[in-house]
Amino acid sequence: MSQTSSNSRKKSPLRKAPIVVIAAFLLLWLIGGATGEPGRVLEQAVQVCLSCIGIG
C-alpha cells in the first residue's frame, strides 16, 4: 500500500513552474497597478476607438 502511494507520488510530482510563473506575473500586475496603469486602461476602454474598429 505504502509502495503504491510512493509510486503515485513519483508519477505525480507537484509542478512548481506554474506557481513561479503565476507569482512573477502577479508581481508584474502589482507593479502596473502601482504606477496607476489601470486608470489609464479604463480611460481608454470607456471610449470608442473608431480607427481601432476600422471606422474613420
Binding site: 481601432c52 476600422g54 471606422i55
Partner: protein, 297 residues
C-alpha cells in the same frame, strides 16, 4: 462534458458582454467594470462589452508609451501583461476553448454541415508574427509627429473587433456610416474570410492569427491546468488525432501549444484512459464516464 463547456462559453460570453443598455444609450458601456481584463479576445468597443480587451489595451499603452514617459507616466503595459500572464499560467489556451467569445462563434459556424478541411500546420506560426509585430513592435516603433503609435492589430486586422464593435457601432450610430472607407473595407473583408473559413475548417482564426492565443500558447508547458498523457496506457491508436478541433496529435505532443483543453480527446476518443486532466501535476479528472478528485488506479 461538451455540454458543460458550451454552457461555460455562453456564460463567459455574457459576462464579458453583459451591458445591454446600448439600444437606448447608442454607445458602449462606460462603467468601472471596464478595468477588468477580458480573458478572451473581446473588443472593448463592442457596445455590450463590460471588460477591456487585453490585446487592444496593450497596443494602446505601447503606442502611447513615448508620450506617457515624456509626461512622467510609466505605462509599460505591466498590469495588462500581468493579468493575461496570470490567466496564462493558470489555464493557458484552455481559455481559448472555454472562455473566448470569438472562438465560440467560430465553433458555431463550424457546425454548418459542409465538407470540412484542415488548416496547414505552417500557418499556426502566423499568430506569433501578429503578436510580436502588430501588437508589440509596430505600435512602439511607428509613431506620428506627437509620438503616438497606432494599435496596428486592431486597426488593420482584428476580425473580432469588426464583428463585435465595427458593425454594431455603424448600426447604432448612422452618422458614422459617412466615414466608412478603405480601412473598414479591408477589415470587413478579413472578417468575412475568417468567418467563411470557420465554416470549412475548425477555428482557423485561433490557429493562424489570434495574438492572444499566441500569448497563451507560450504557457503550454508551464500552465497549472493541462491534459496529461499516460504513456504506459497509450496504444498509439491515434483516435485522439481525429477529434481534436485544433489539429493536435496529442499522443505525439501532449504539451502542444495549440491544445485548447476542450477535453474532446479525453472524453470522446481515448478508450484506454491514457489522457487525464491535471492541476499542477495532480490528476483531477478521468474521462466523461465520471469526474473524480482522486487519481486513477
Amino acid at each position: 462534458m461538451e455540454t458543460v463547456r458550451k454552457w461555460v462559453q455562453v456564460i463567459m460570453g455574457f459576462l464579458m458582454n453583459g451591458s445591454w443598455s446600448f439600444p437606448f444609450t447608442r454607445t458602449i458601456y462606460q462603467g468601472p467594470l471596464k478595468v477588468i481584463c477580458a480573458p478572451g479576445l473581446n473588443c472593448y468597443s463592442c457596445p455590450a462589452a463590460t471588460t477591456y480587451c487585453p490585446m487592444g489595451s496593450l497596443q494602446q499603452l505601447l503606442g502611447g508609451l513615448r508620450f506617457a514617459l515624456e509626461n512622467g507616466q510609466y505605462y509599460f503595459g505591466f498590469s495588462v501583461l500581468g493579468s493575461i500572464g496570470i490567466l496564462g499560467g493558470l489555464f493557458g489556451r484552455m481559455i481559448c476553448g472555454w472562455a473566448c467569445p470569438f472562438g465560440f462563434i467560430q465553433e458555431l459556424l463550424h457546425k454548418i454541415p459542409t465538407r470540412k478541411f484542415g488548416v496547414p500546420r505552417l500557418l499556426s506560426h502566423g499568430k506569433f508574427v501578429f503578436l510580436f509585430l502588430f501588437v508589440i513592435v509596430l505600435p512602439l516603433a511607428l509613431v506620428d509627429e506627437s509620438g503616438i503609435g497606432s494599435p496596428w492589430y486592431c486597426k488593420f486586422v482584428c476580425p473580432a473587433g469588426t464583428l463585435e464593435a465595427g458593425i454594431p457601432m455603424l448600426l447604432l450610430q448612422p452618422n458614422l456610416r459617412n466615414t466608412i472607407g478603405l480601412l473598414f473595407l479591408n477589415k470587413f473583408v478579413i472578417m468575412l474570410i475568417f468567418l467563411t473559413w470557420a465554416i470549412f475548417a475548425s477555428r482557423p482564426f485561433c490557429r493562424t492569427a489570434c495574438p492572444l492565443g499566441a500569448f497563451y500558447a507560450l504557457f503550454s508547458r508551464v500552465r497549472l491546468i493541462k491534459l496529461r498523457l499516460d504513456e504506459a496506457r497509450c496504444t498509439n491508436c491515434k483516435a485522439c488525432h481525429h477529434v481534436c478541433p485544433m489539429g493536435v496529435k496529442f499522443n505525439e505532443s501532449p504539451d502542444d501549444p495549440e491544445c485548447i483543453t476542450c477535453l474532446a480527446c479525453m472524453n470522446k476518443a481515448c478508450k484506454f484512459d491514457a489522457i487525464s486532466l491535471e492541476i499542477g501535476g495532480i490528476p483531477l479528472a478521468v474521462p466523461d464516464r465520471g469526474i473524480s478528485l482522486s487519481s486513477k488506479p
